[in-house]
């Protein structure tokens, strides 16, 4: 194993929560409301159920291939060359994902908070901190996650507790008024980000100490993260209504702007932005970690540290060129992402399973 560090079950859960909430907390409510309108929260819950099924699949795979990462699984089930090819594809997938996540935070900052600051500098400073956090392996990173999770929860609970004065219950009606179809479209959009990306944890599970119980820990983490996303979707509809939630680029930020208690507890939005600074930090860290580990394993390197600088620099460049403008990203996220992620989330894992069955029969 390249990474000598080991993480505990609790740490796996924490990482899964932060990863699931990740960048979706910022962007997901908008596309959910666009598709499912008043039923965005139902769509979010459905997507969570589908996401948990996918997690079940990954847990099964992790049991079939004990102590093997994605690369190991691919090679064991599909053979050295085909497995290697699939691993390279996964490298591309995670690396692209890193770039998208990094660009999300850059776009958010340049649109809402620091309009005159060049986006490159936001990326550089954010990535510097990410690389500093991940370069000593997963173990210290997971410990940091344990320290930061309570803060995320604190901000999140603050938001939930302070918003009820702004609720408009009638925004939720009609419930399932237009049938199930729009809800399913919303489910697909949320399933493609973040639930398909949970496949990344196949790189993490081999490092868990009590691996026989890692399945439950991962499931718990995704469940908690997914519930938080569903709550954010529900709040967006309750406070902003389906129309406004659709029109906003960052609905949860607008949500925080609405907090106003007795004319003195207001303008908390940047404090609330703390939630996604932290969650995006950990999501980006995990994506970047997975990319370097796959590259390390594929090249047979004995140490991945030399990879951080070149990969980090490429990531900076990629994050700038990955999409030309915000409209392009919206189209990608709503139309392309699902089909693009599907092979990685379900196709290849199923292929590994079949490969394992055939190998078992033969040998």
């Amino acid at each position: 194993m390249l990474d000598k560090g080991r993480i505990g079950l609790h740490q796996l859960t924490v990482l899964a929560i932060l990863f699931t909430v990740g960048s979706s907390v910022l962007i997901a409510p908008s596309s959910l409301a666009y598709e499912a309108r008043e039923d965005a929260w139902i769509a979010a819950l459905l997507a969570l159920v589908v996401g948990l099924l996918a997690v079940g699949l990954y847990n099964g795979l992790a049991r079939l291939f004990p102590s093997a990462t994605l690369v190991g699984m691919a090679r064991l089930s599909l053979g050295r060359w085909l497995g290697g090819a699939v691993s390279w594809l996964y490298l591309g997938y995670f690396f692209m994902l890193s770039a998208l996540v990094l660009r999300n935070i850059g776009d958010f900052m340049t649109t809402q908070v620091l309009p005159k600051t060049p986006i490159q500098f936001i990326h550089i400073f954010f990535l510097l901190v990410v690389v500093a956090g991940i370069r000593n392996g997963l173990e210290p990173f997971a410990r940091a996650a344990e320290i930061f999770l309570p803060w995320v929860m604190l901000f999140f609970v603050t938001m939930v507790v302070l918003l009820p004065p702004e609720f408009h219950i009638e925004n939720l009606q009609p419930v399932l008024g237009y049938g199930i179809k729009p809800v399913l479209r919303g489910t697909i959009s949320l399933f493609s980000t973040p639930y398909t990306e949970v496949v990344l944890f196949l790189m993490i599970i081999p490092l868990v100490r009590k691996r026989d119980r890692s399945g439950k820990a991962l499931l718990t983490g995704v469940l908690i993260g997914g519930l938080m996303l569903a709550i954010i979707a529900l709040l967006s509809i309750l406070v902003l209504g389906a129309d406004l939630a659709t029109k906003q680029a960052f609905p949860s930020y607008s949500l925080a702007k609405k907090i106003s208690i007795g004319d003195f507890l207001e303008r908390l939005e940047v404090v609330m932005a703390g939630i996604w600074f932290i969650t995006i930090y950990f999501k980006l860290g995990l994506c970047f970690y997975a990319s370097t580990m796959i590259l390390g394993e594929l090249t047979g390197a004995s140490d991945v540290k030399p990879f951080y600088l070149p990969l980090g620099l490429s990531l900076l460049a990629l994050s700038i060129v990955i999409y030309p403008n915000f409209a392009y990203f919206v189209t990608f996220a709503s139309r392309v992402d699902f089909l693009y992620s599907l092979p990685f989330a379900l196709g290849f894992p199923l292929l590994f399973w079949i490969g394992w069955l055939i190998r078992g029969r033969l040998g």
Binding site: T111, Q112, V113, L114, P115, K116, T117, P118, F121, E170, Q173, P174, G177, Y178, L240, G241, D243, L244, K247, S254, K257, K258, S260, E266
Partner: protein, 401 residues
Amino acid sequence: MQRKRQALILLCLCVLGLAPGCWDSRELNELAITVGLGLDKSGDNVKVTTQIVNPGEVASKQGNQGNRMPFTTISSTEQTVIEALRKQTIILPRAVFTSHLRILVIGEELARDGILKVMDGLSRNREMRSDFYIIVARDAEAEDILATLTPMERISAYKMFKTLEMSAEEWAPTVDVEMDQLLHDLANPLKDTVLAGMVIEGNKEVGSEAHNLDRSKPFTSLVFSGLALFRDDKLVDWLNSQESKGYNYIMNNVDTTAGHLACPDGDGFIAMEVTHAKSSINGSVDQEGEPFIDLSFQLEENVGEAQCEMDLSDTASLERLERVATRQLEEIVRQTIAKAQRNKADIFGFGERIEDAAPREWLRLKDDWRERFAKLKVNIEVDLKVRRIGTTINPLSDRKE
């Protein structure tokens, strides 16, 4: 040697971080804190007026020193709102900063022309929050409203903000519409909207001069008056104060208010204080597929002032008052709905209620909703109770020996 080199590199990195400066730093003394914003039509362009706080004047504890104004209003005209806002730097030494906006005034002419175009720039603007109120300058330009000096609150935008908040609470016929709500209504092509109207009473030229405040009764004042009724994004009609009250009763906006009834016998009026008002709107579709609305009201009132002879210690006379008040409320509500229906403007969101109740029927109804709204059947049910009669029992005019 190695250590020295490392330290040098670290130093270089630190300097590199500082050298480009802070892109987004904005010092307080570079900002023109804008508390009021006005939009007017000017030919094909839009005239943007900003009301900017004069920092030295507001901060000083001694109050009005010399004859300086508490705020300055600046106007500029351009094709788009954002251009006009930036153009103001050719007049101002500071850049317009709109995060602390309290009130947005839309000139009547522009409102009649349509406000959709000008609202987009504001909703897209990062600096703009959504916690300010939007009003319409009735028979006036937004510029003149923002230029008028007001007593009590030196910054007139704050005055308008607070007056609106207070009158929406204590005196029903105004509405405090925030940006989000307006955008919500504009986003829905079948939901129309209302905004509070404001008139200038007195000479508008004098209003902007310092001597407007030189006497205890200002020459010119700003007064809220009626509600502007919008169909789509265009102002089409005004609701008078009775109808405005009716609108607020229907929308469940009434907190407390007061109204009067004609005395059941004899001259004079009885003022009723509404202490509790609640309404609910339910939409539905009947067997023939025709939509209808059920409006129900629950009110509690107190007798506030009785100018006529009447035995208020008698339950029967209170019941009579209840009947009169019920009839009057129904009348106000009918009158309001009739006006909206005449203008084919669904300001109450009746369509949304029907959609909530029967979404599939709604898909069929929404195509000619405006026509249907004009003929919509509305059932009104009032449950009104007169509870208390104040601190005296019988009217002062009841002077039986």
